[in-house]
């Protein structure tokens, strides 16, 4: 996409229902991934393949290494061993174009991490302009489309502190999508939210999954995992314990550790939601 175009530019997916262009979805292959902090080995040889357009939910007790695994995929954590191929980049190659790679991999954080000195619109536009080299008009148009897709077009000029947690997280998703990533990573996106706003965020993620985005989601929302994920991966103690179709892993777990984890979280929840 050229930046010098003078005609009022339309984002590639303007007017099209659904928030993303599915044609660009790409996968991710992780092989024998190791990660340690000092003497503590957090990931003990994880292998995982995510197909383009697939939705994979990572579940497991806290400290099981699922967030670390997710953060290794876009190199927020540097792996100690193994290999990761993501969106066509060899992430574990020391010469990888790290910024170009990250521009292809959307990341949504538990604590939103919106830029507090910028409006929702500016949050979505800043990286498009500084990384993708888009003009302000072009970037803002893409941002508005993405804010509209998460249902927040009317709050584009609000600052993050004027938005609820759920709204902030939806802006964060729009911000990541505005870069037109080929894969999205979600690190416990609803864990910091008030219960009544969780549904809005999950709704946006569901819509995104239906549009064909490749998604890797660390979550405690078992209902979401069961209904939306193509595959659920259960991790414990830095190893991948069990994986399989969502209904099977959650409805009929084979491994004893998966069973006791699910019994705990489902019991605490009372029941699975929708």
């Amino acid at each position: 996409m050229t930046t010098s175009t003078s005609s009022p530019s339309q984002p590639a997916d303007a007017g099209r229902p659904g928030p993303v262009t599915t044609a660009s979805a790409q996968g991710c292959t992780i092989t024998d991934l190791h990660k340690s902090y000092g003497d503590v080995e957090v990931l003990k040889g994880i292998s995982l393949n995510v197909e383009p357009g697939e939705v994979v939910c990572l579940i497991g007790p806290s400290g099981s290494g699922k967030s670390t695994l997710l953060r290794c995929i876009n190199l927020l954590e540097e792996p100690n061993g193994g290999s990761i191929t993501v969106a066509g980049f060899d992430a574990t190659d020391p010469d990888v174009q790290i910024d170009a790679m990250r521009a292809q991999v959307g990341m949504v954080f538990q604590s939103f991490n919106l830029f507090p000195h910028m409006t929702a619109l500016e949050n979505c536009s800043i990286a498009q302009r500084r990384v993708r080299g888009r003009s302000k008009e072009e970037a803002d148009a893409v941002s508005r489309t993405n804010l509209e897709n998460v249902g927040l077009a009317h709050l584009a000029d609000r600052y993050p502190d004027q938005l609820s947690g759920g709204q902030q997280q939806r802006v964060a998703i729009a911000r990541a999508l505005a870069m037109e990533p080929s894969l999205m990573l979600f690190d416990e996106p609803t864990s910091a939210l008030d219960p009544e706003t969780v549904g809005d965020v999950l709704g946006v993620m569901r819509q995104l999954a239906e549009a064909g985005m490749t998604m890797v989601v660390v979550t405690h929302e078992m209902g979401f995992a069961r209904d939306v994920a193509d595959r659920v991966v259960f991790m414990d103690g830095g190893v991948l314990v069990e994986e399989g179709p969502a209904q099977e892993v959650i409805g009929n777990p084979q491994h004893e550790r998966t069973q006791s984890f699910l019994a705990r979280v489902l019991h605490a929840d009372g029941t699975l939601d929708g």
């Binding site: 990250r102 954080f109 991490n113 830029f115 507090p116 800043i126 990384v131």
Partner: protein, 272 residues
């Protein structure tokens, strides 16, 4: 009924606190009155607040002295801020030697009196290298170098106070390290450091007086030197120092108010 009886017989905690406060007021008023009575107001008025001498100070105290104090402070601040930012970035750099150099520099210039640095740039450096440094350059170097050590620590604290998630979010969107710092981290750090940075400017305003050590021409006098020169005539008394002091307050008090404004704004931002 029973409460009324108890109030008559013993004091409630609130009543006791009220009596305590009133006693303190009474003591304070007594001290002020005694000091007022004992003071020789005639002499004080003549030596400190002599209207004729005050009038003599104008307009030069403003057009020369106050102006020069502001110029010297501004020069020092510009260099101090530039050097301080460099040092702060070095101090948080992953490159260990940068951190060592920055730490050494900061510890040294925070640890030695500013007076020594002024003497060094006023006399020792020109002598040792056989060069001439003009007054404005001297004050800029001496003040800037000393203050950069303090400013560096202020900036470093500000940069580190920006949540790590902000940097991670920026990098995750594909921004380079320097782009993330410039676009995301530094603008937020500036909000955090404005109050302490304003306090640094107040300190610098006063430290600029150390230039009096060097030979200054009359047009280069700043407030402290100007006041010092003016009291050398016997009939002036100490009034010129009072005028100079008041002129410092004209700069520093508004800065203090500004710092408090920034502080309450920062507090509001972090609360939201």
């Amino acid at each position: 009924m029973s409460t009324a009886i108890r109030q008559r017989t013993s004091l409630s905690p609130r009543q006791r606190a009220k009596i305590n406060r009133n006693v303190q007021y009474a003591i304070l008023i007594a001290v002020v009155l005694i000091a007022g009575v004992l003071t020789d107001w005639g002499t004080v008025g003549e030596k400190f607040f002599n209207p004729a001498v005050i009038a003599d100070q104008f307009p030069e105290v403003v057009t020369t002295a106050l102006k020069n104090t502001i110029i010297y402070t501004a020069l020092g601040f510009v260099l101090g801020l530039a050097l301080g930012l460099l040092l702060a970035l070095m101090k948080i750099s992953p490159v260990a030697p940068y951190r060592w150099i920055a730490t050494l520099y900061i510890e040294f210039f925070r640890g030695v009196p500013a007076l020594l640095v002024f003497i060094a740039f006023g006399y020792a450096v020109p002598y040792a290298f056989g060069i001439r440094i003009d007054t404005y350059m001297t004050v800029m170097l001496a003040l800037g170098i000393v203050e950069s050590a303090y400013i560096a620590e202020t900036l470093r604290a500000g940069l580190q106070a920006v949540p790590k998630g902000q940097y991670e979010a920026a990098r995750s969107l594909g921004m380079s390290n320097s782009r993330a710092m410039i676009t995301i981290v530094i603008p937020q750090a500036v909000r955090i450091i404005l109050p302490p940075l304003t306090n640094e400017i107040i300190m610098m305003t006063k430290d600029s007086s150390l230039i009096y050590l060097l030979g200054l021409t009359a047009s280069q006098y700043e407030l402290a030197k100007f006041g010092r020169e003016a009291i050398s005539s016997p009939e002036a008394g100490l009034t010129p120092l009072v005028v100079a002091g008041a002129a410092y307050l004209v700069i520093t008090v508004p800065l203090g108010i500004l710092a408090r404004k920034f502080e309450s704004r920062t507090a509001k931002l972090s609360r939201e």
